[in-house]
């Protein structure tokens, strides 16, 4: 029965891969169907009405003078605004003609209205999704692991899966093995990993470090030079790195810097100012830190919303496209923990946690999502597609929800 259901689902909606597949399998499905049938049967035997005379009688209306007899027609004035500022456009990835090896490049930013205020202005460049690929085995939640277990430890195969099966626009190579406290892999090892991925997929890449400012600088220096012209997003440049040196090698080799700061717009401005000494505005994306739903998402959301509004209002130091490490949603225990039965299955709760975090930040103005679970990615892309489709609502059947028989 569950199989049949899935077949029908595929036929009707044409998911590829099917959302339900991504959301794992449910033993519960069959049981629920059975219950539904029982409910339907019971309806026939139940009338549930009370004799009219037992009910309270209608009240009389208070008398109000001059009640309107006809609809008082008026116009709603659409509150359209103009903004002095505009978000910078940043191009990621370079094709062969542009000095790189990618099959396509991706442009984000360029917005001149708050996120998806399409009553005001159309979206210039819809947000894009880059999927996480790790260069060594690491602890992953069950809901994520089940989709990638075949490729853990093989970053090139993982990248291929992300692009071909999960619909990633880009891939993030997390070079966690270079961490001196983990494997302490050399820049040469990292270059080899990146090279393999470049050979396997042709989407633009994000190069992620390990968080050690000294080691990241050393590895980024060699990667940017070896792959000059590819227009990687270097993730990330932070205040405690040698910002001048990093900015220089990013610029010299034609890449893009991800300016990362810990949830403080003043620090974001300050780091961007330091980068301006060496980089063009079009070479900078900012990451204002993403906290998980339930674990500081409110701060992340407001910080990003403020940054976007400030950028539109003319604060050039914040008028950069924004990137979000949405994978951080999995830091929330509710995303992965086995909980009491009323909150299960976690195979659904987990990816929904990620997608809820993503949708919240989508509406704050995030342009680039770094994500993890394929169902969350698929949903974010679907929603974004719907929001920019330019299609209108069919309002004729809306009120049918009142009498809907689910």
């Amino acid at each position: 029965m569950a199989d049949k259901k899935k077949k029908d689902e595929k036929a009707g909606i044409n998911f590829s891969p099917d959302l339900l597949d991504l959301l794992s399998k449910f033993q519960e499905v069959e049981l629920e169907d059975f219950e539904l049938e029982v409910k339907d049967l019971e309806l026939w035997f139940e009338s549930g009405t009370l004799p009219r005379q037992l009910m309270p009688q209608p009240k009389a209306a208070p008398i109000i003078k001059g009640k309107p007899r006809e609809l008082l027609k008026t116009q709603f004035m659409s509150p359209i605004e103009t903004y002095p500022g505009k978000i910078v456009e940043v191009k990621l990835g370079a094709t062969k003609g542009e000095g790189g090896s990618r099959g396509c490049s991706v442009v984000i930013g360029g917005e001149n209205s708050p996120a998806f205020y399409t009553f005001e202005r159309p979206v210039v460049h819809p947000p894009v999704v880059t999927l996480d690929v790790f260069d060594m085995a690491l602890p992953l939640s069950k809901a994520v692991k089940m989709h990638v277990k075949e490729v853990i430890g093989d970053p090139a195969a993982w990248a291929k899966l992300a692009v071909e099966n999960f619909g990633a626009d880009m891939v993030t190579v997390h070079l966690i093995s270079i961490d001196p406290l983990l494997k302490d892999a050399t820049p040469k090892d990292a270059i080899k990993t990146v090279e393999e991925i470049l050979q396997t997929v042709d989407v633009p890449l994000v190069i992620g470090g390990c968080g050690d400012p000294v080691k990241d600088t050393a590895v980024f220096a060699e990667i940017t030079e070896t792959f000059a012209g590819e227009r990687f997003l270097i993730s990330s440049l932070t205040q405690d790195m040698d910002v001048e040196r990093c900015a220089k090698f990013v610029k010299k080799n034609g890449h893009v810097a991800l300016s990362f700061t810990p949830m403080d717009l003043n620090l974001a401005r300050e780091l961007n100012r330091r980068l301006y000494d060496h980089l063009n505005k079009e070479d900078i994306i900012m990451d204002l830190t993403t906290a998980a739903l339930g674990y500081g998402l409110d701060y992340a959301f407001t910080n990003m919303e403020r940054a976007r509004l400030a950028g539109l209002m003319g604060d050039a130091e914040l008028a950069h496209p924004m990137s979000s490490g949405t994978t951080n949603a999995w830091a929330a225990r509710e995303a992965w923990l086995k909980m009491a039965p009323e909150w299960e299955p976690r195979e659904l709760r987990g990816p929904l946690w990620e997608v809820t975090t993503a949708l919240t930040l989508l509406l704050a103005g995030v342009d680039l999502f770094m994500m993890m679970h394929p169902a969350a990615v698929k949903t974010l892309k679907e929603v974004t597609g719907q929001l920019v489709s330019g299609k209108k609502a069919d309002s004729s059947s809306f009120s049918d929800w009142i009498s809907l028989k689910p």
Partner: protein, 476 residues
């Protein structure tokens, strides 16, 4: 944004002096504050309301009182649904963006029931809705309302189900039907419950408005994807004498998503930034439209989409939502999201660093540390409390960073941990020199041992495992 200037000062511009000028200025302390200026400051911060000043309620101050009421009136009207303790307040928003001040009255979530459910289904569903409860950093997350839908169109059936619902629960109701006869039958079964009546449309508004006045209940004005019609309805209903309105611009899934978000955003902006009074009412969203045209689609997929729609509406200004999916996995993310979005952004992210004691710790009790990021701290604290163990917790100053981001961003370093060990004087309170560190800080365990001279035990990566860890692994 080039907002039109209005005579009424906006929330941020309102200063305590503006309020103080209209207060009695007697410093009588009857409100519990030291003086009238302190009271005025709290008024401006919306921590108290003017009714808490007893002298102001006297006849002689009636003019000042009404001036203050007008000055403090939110651009989005506060509408109360239900009666008694569980009544919910909808709207009452002062600002469009939460960073401009803070949001009040979290989006109420209603779960639907119908007049075609069996008694058992009905009772189970109401009970499940009432029992929904999740403990989250000191808050209990709950569901708020029951939406009763008329499927049959039969007034008697509707009346019967409403009667059963009010007998079973004191959660406030939304009565859903476009048929005034059905609506009246429902209202008669709940004459004092002050339900939200859904809905007046351009066809039935006269009858629905009469009912709203007769039963003194708030009324939804519904005009799917037509803001001119919605404004016209609001204008007409106000003229009719119905003051407590909720606006329904329609909720549309899939292709209608852009229109949905646009309508909610335009209404809220017109109310908060443009001073448009006809838009100044709470907004109702109906994520359960995701179930329309369901066909053979699996229930899980529909619940997933309904949750997505609800999340976007919570972020984009909805004050009340009607939902059908009542699974814990699909409701929990939105219950938490709502709590997050409605948290007061004026409150600090960090807690005071220092030493915290749990239970009655002695010289053999375990010593743990965590960061001073408020959410990390409260989570760890509640897990230690649950373990019922006596323990010391050192809260390290990490400028409000969590453990993993603190380690990555150098806000949580071995130096800071060593310093905190010293400063808290924990060495004089315990006779061992062992510290349990968060699993996510294992990278700096060696450095901590080196700098502090304490032996490090790497604890669990998630604090939910602390209780078990202390039982299995702790020995002084």
């Amino acid at each position: 944004m080039s907002e039109k200037k209005k005579a009424k000062p906006k929330v941020k511009e309102l200063s305590p002096i503006d309020v103080y000028k209209l207060l009695p200025k007697t410093n009588c302390k009857e409100c519990g504050e030291e003086n009238c200026m302190a009271f005025a400051t709290k008024i401006v911060n919306r921590e108290v309301n003017i009714d808490q000043c007893p002298p102001l309620l006297k006849k002689e101050y009636i003019k000042a009182y009404s001036q203050l009421k007008e000055m403090l009136k939110p651009p989005v009207r506060e509408v109360i649904v239900g009666d008694g303790e569980k009544a919910v307040k909808l709207g009452g928003k002062l600002v469009m963006y939460r960073h401009e001040f803070t949001y009040f009255n979290p989006t109420a979530i209603a779960i639907d029931v119908t007049d075609e459910m069996t008694d058992e289904e009905l009772m189970n569903r109401i009970e499940k809705t009432g029992k929904f409860s999740y403990e989250y950093i000191g808050y209990t997350l709950k569901l708020d309302m029951i939406a009763v839908r008329s499927i049959s169109g039969d007034p008697e059936k509707f009346q019967a189900v409403v009667k059963k619902v009010v007998e079973k629960t004191d959660l406030p109701l939304i009565l859903c039907t476009l048929n005034a006869n059905v609506a009246e039958a429902g209202l008669m079964a709940a004459p004092k419950a002050k339900p939200l009546l859904y809905a007046a449309t351009i066809e039935n508004w006269k009858d629905m408005a009469e009912l709203a006045l007769m039963y003194n209940c708030p009324l939804v004005a519904s005009a799917p994807n037509d803001l001119n019609a919605l404004a016209s309805l609001a204008k007409t209903l106000l003229a009719f004498g119905v003051k407590d309105l909720v606006l329904d611009p329609g909720t549309f899934a899939n292709e209608g998503l852009a229109d949905t978000l646009n309508n909610f955003t335009m209404l809220r902006r017109a109310a908060c930034k443009g001073g448009e009074e006809l838009a100044g009412f709470p907004l109702i969203g109906v994520p359960m439209v995701a179930w329309m045209g369901k066909g053979e689609t699996a229930d899980e997929v529909i619940k997933w989409r309904e949750a997505n729609l609800a999340a976007m509406l919570i972020v984009r200004f909805a004050d009340v939502l009607v939902m059908h999916g009542d699974d814990g996995w699909s409701l929990l993310p939105n219950a938490v999201l709502r709590q997050n979005i409605y948290t007061d952004p004026r409150k600090p992210v960090a807690v005071e660093p220092g030493l915290k004691e749990f239970g009655t710790p002695d010289e053999n009790s375990p010593v743990l540390f965590t960061t001073n990021f408020a959410l990390t701290y409260y989570t760890v604290a509640s897990d230690i409390e649950n373990s019922k163990t006596n323990a010391y917790l050192i809260v390290v100053e990490t400028e409000g960073s969590a453990v993993d981001s603190g380690v990555a961003g150098r806000k949580l370093t071995a130096e800071k941990v060593a310093e905190a060990i010293k400063e808290t004087g924990i060495e004089n309170k315990v006779k061992h020199k062992k510290i349990i560190i968060p699993g996510k800080a294992s990278r700096i365990s060696g450095e901590i041992e080196e700098l502090s001279g304490w032996k490090v035990q790497v604890g669990p990566r998630d604090s939910s495992e602390i209780p078990k860890y202390l039982i299995d692994k702790w020995q002084p």
